[in-house]
Point group: D2
Chain length 333, copies 4
């Protein structure tokens, strides 16, 4: 830590979040800790008047998230939840097209977030596989992203049915001594009904062989379709039903790297692609700009309200999986 501070030119550093929160020089609190360290530090920071950016999922469950949202509202600080994929240029372009009505009435949203990093049964029960720390498994880690994108791009879900699976129920303990029960989901599958009439599927899994960071979604509407794949994040697939020449209709691959594309005016020439980290750069720039200009982070930034609402949906997914029945999505004000 000392080395890192020196290397990147920081005068001082701390490993105790309470020092950060009580330091009057600190104006922004960026919480990238594990999920069980989101609520208390963020709430304390908000109370101390700091603007707060917190990693997703905002909390381990809706109740905890609600307290965080209440705290930032009460403190009147700026707040964002790290749903960084809203800041991928191709996804912002999708958002702008949807807002402009270019896809028409939405019929379908299908989103899937697939990884494979814990498929080996010898992989230990790290904190992300421990419900006390993480709240849930693939659901909160991966599912929260696509739940947020569903709300961002399509609208509010009305009801959800889901199932979950833990394929490997016991794993080596992180401390190397014996095995431990895995008490979170390795995967979930859900169907969702949106208030606007759209229907869709949501799923996340860490058991998809060959899928490294494969977050995909597709939206079908009355006027067209959109499709995205995070492993090819510079592209957006676009189909427009009402184009001039019907003989030439087809899904086009838009390389979202033109100077008039979202975020791209500050980057390099077109076709010279961006990486995954740029979404974070755009996100942080968005948050800092909102602070400097004292502007709202909405509608493009995800607030703690968005973090809370995603947590409500995550909770509903777990409840549906347990009860084998559809759950209505109900937010508290």
């Amino acid at each position: 830590m000392r080395e890192a501070a020196a290397r990147y030119g920081y005068d001082h550093y701390t490993t105790d979040w309470k020092e950060l929160v009580s330091d009057p020089q600190v104006e922004v609190f960026d919480n990238v800790g594990p999920n069980n360290l989101h609520a208390e530090p963020c709430i304390a920071a908000a109370k101390a008047g700091k603007h707060v950016l917190c990693e997703k999922p905002l909390a381990r469950n809706a109740q905890e998230a609600k307290r965080m949202w209440d705290a930032v509202k009460a403190a009147e600080v700026k707040h964002m939840c790290g749903f960084s994929y809203r800041f991928v240029p191709a996804i912002r372009l999708a958002k702008e097209m949807l807002d402009a009505g270019e896809i028409g009435e939405i019929y379908h949203f299908r989103a899937s977030y697939q990884q494979e990093w814990i498929m080996d049964a010898d992989f230990p029960q790290v904190w992300r596989l421990n419900k006390g720390v993480s709240g849930s498994g693939a659901l909160g880690d991966l599912g929260a992203h696509i739940i947020d994108l569903g709300r961002f791009l399509v609208g509010e879900p009305e009801a959800i049915s889901a199932t979950t699976r833990t394929f490997i129920p016991e794993r080596p303990s992180p401390d190397g001594k014996g095995t431990v029960k895995v008490d979170v989901d390795d995967a979930f599958e859900a169907i969702v009904r949106f208030s606007n009439g759209a229907v869709g599927t949501l799923e996340a899994s860490r058991f998809c062989s060959g899928r490294k960071n494969h977050m995909t979604f597709e939206i079908n509407g009355s006027k067209g379709s959109l499709a995205f794949d995070l492993e090819k994040l510079n592209s957006l697939q676009v189909y427009l039903r009402e184009e001039a020449n019907p003989q030439l209709h087809g899904f086009r691959e838009v390389l979202v790297t033109e100077s008039d594309h979202p975020f791209y005016s500050v980057w390099w020439p077109h076709g010279h692609v961006l990486g995954w980290e740029h979404a974070h750069i755009h996100e942080i720039n968005h948050f800092l700009s909102a602070i400097v200009k004292d502007e709202s982070v909405e509608p493009y930034g995800a607030t703690f309200e968005d973090g809370y609402k995603a947590a409500v949906i995550c909770d509903a997914i777990l409840a549906s999986a347990e009860t084998h029945s559809e759950q209505k999505i109900i937010y508290e004000a």
Copy 2:
């Protein structure tokens, strides 16, 4: 009809199925009529000792399908249900790999059948949109295919949760006079739990802009993954986790056109691709060979039993959508 008979060199023809069924020269009855004309003619044909091939879905519901299955069993004739995609070379290759354990334990099956041909609100209420004739909408027409593939490739579903949507509830009457209510689904979304522990999503829709005949599935297992797209039906995407060099792991596109690939030894040189119709050629050849050699059509051909089981699952999907609760899949013997 007379013209067609003459053109293709048939001595005589009939437009009355009862004549066919009572004609002792006819040995095989191939039913490609609308769904409401499946049960009665097929049952009559079976009783008359004819072997029967019937288009999918086998019937408008499970009860009707059950009567058909019972009839062919009682008559001891050969029977097949037209789940033709089992006869696409790439899908047969997938089946062989799964049977050989090359993909390991199955974790996920996600299948989606997307079309767009009735998105225009002016499109009339043809027979496929009339529950009395068709039984259901996208579900029976498209969904039945992927339900059968799920059973063929992964195993028996144990329980299912679903929702359906009719996006355009009223359409011009087929006779051009006024409008008629659409009483079938335009789309369904489902999550499925398989007996072997796999989970997945199933969906079919006729409201997916830009998707012409886009039937896709992906299977993730402990040893690898498989992916398929009917619009590129000569290819199978294959990922193998246990290959020699981990640095070179990746989804490979297998062009299933080698002489040692399923069905291909009778066709042209490798890379000279097949079309959609070849699945039907393989299917009919399979049925006729089984008759000529007096062999079982199983395990590769779908029987009326398979047609019945798909109908049970379709019924469960409709029931789940109505009751908003998970339905167990229970077959009658």
Copy 3:
């Protein structure tokens, strides 16, 4: 042969082309023999007043092809050279777009025909590897196709520079006794200047690992681009520079399976793809229709003139490879 005739319902058959040519019942002569059996039988058939369809390459060299073209002209019969890829729907769509000026002034044509079937050094010296029979190797067999497409889609080449390679100079004799010299090219590479100002590359090889029947081309023009891949023959990639919304420019994948696409009105619903053989069906239908209606096979059918011109270009490629200098393309009238 007797069996085949019986199976497909032919009254009689012959294995002697001279019998065919002298049979007054025969109206059309379809020559699918090896290249050294193209000229004499086709010329005899033409003299006997038969319409002639001859496989590509039309002949082993330009001189031989010229005699064939002269013969069909003199006999005033219909004639076509089997450049079947002109009859792939996606390629015909490309042709129609180019003729309509939708791609604008053409700048580039790059075409490559890649196979791999003789990479094994133990593969014997079959007739296609014997200059006396075939005239050339990959050049006449594969290259002739893309040379014809270049002329069909872009225009006449003015000059060409080329190199050839025979990677395996000696192979097992076809009769199993010892080895034989391979006196044809395994691959060629060429650059071409067209009369209209376009430039491009042409290549064909039988030594491209993993490429089964991989014929690809791309055309770049002032108003757009087109790209095609024979292993995915139902698709045409299209880019249009002048579309309304510049933010959405991108290569689109047009699935050339709509009822208003070339050749498709007689086939199945959209998205239900065609195979390689359909190009031959379209080709033969085109030829027979031209005969029945006494119409020209041009501009879509390739005539013996086109076969001759392709042969001139093949000869120029071999000459350039030998002399290491650019060759002008000069046709005799």
Copy 4:
């Protein structure tokens, strides 16, 4: 400039390269100026004992490049030419596979670098279109990259035949007053014979509609094939002929983002992709490490020798285009 210096925390700055070269505090000279400002400053920097990194193409022609190479050799400083694509992880992986013999004997190299940014006739004659400043057009700017990759991956070219085109011969003057002649190539096409027996095509163009930064190459060898596309730079397509199960042969898409892949151990989790700029980060890190550790920049870094050799090949392409005859590639020692 002052603003940039302040923003990024530099104590002082200069806009005069002579100040840099004579400043004893400066140890490394990084030349990113236009091509006509490569030779003199780099030679002066070398003479002043600075290590030199110079953008590609190294110089406007081989003679100028030779003087630069001679200078760095004489000064015994470290030197690199900015062929940054050698530092794309997927390309380094290709290099390692080729060096390890995994692709076998090389038969083909086809590389194409396509852009579209000057297709509009109203685009002015910027310095890259002015021979006095740039030396050549698409050839030196884009072609030099693929020429270097050909040498890096396949080996030394022995002879080359080429043609060039200037599609828009006159353009608006950069100063807005009237029009100016364009005296460089808008595109070139070439065929190349390598010393090791491989043959291939090379081309670069700024007139390829829809191609933004589309640098692609494919290598076919006796044991497999490799393919790459800069617009999807995290992937390498790999085909291996000798894999265990012939039924499963196919091009695989290797996502080159694993921790054991080149350069990736310092980056983020697998599947979280890199952008174009990372190649430059790797390149500069390579150069600085070589300086710090006093190691050779070879074999992975391109030296001024490589810059010179690429310039010889560029000159040969221009000479071939003028003389319409093949040019031998001859390097001076």
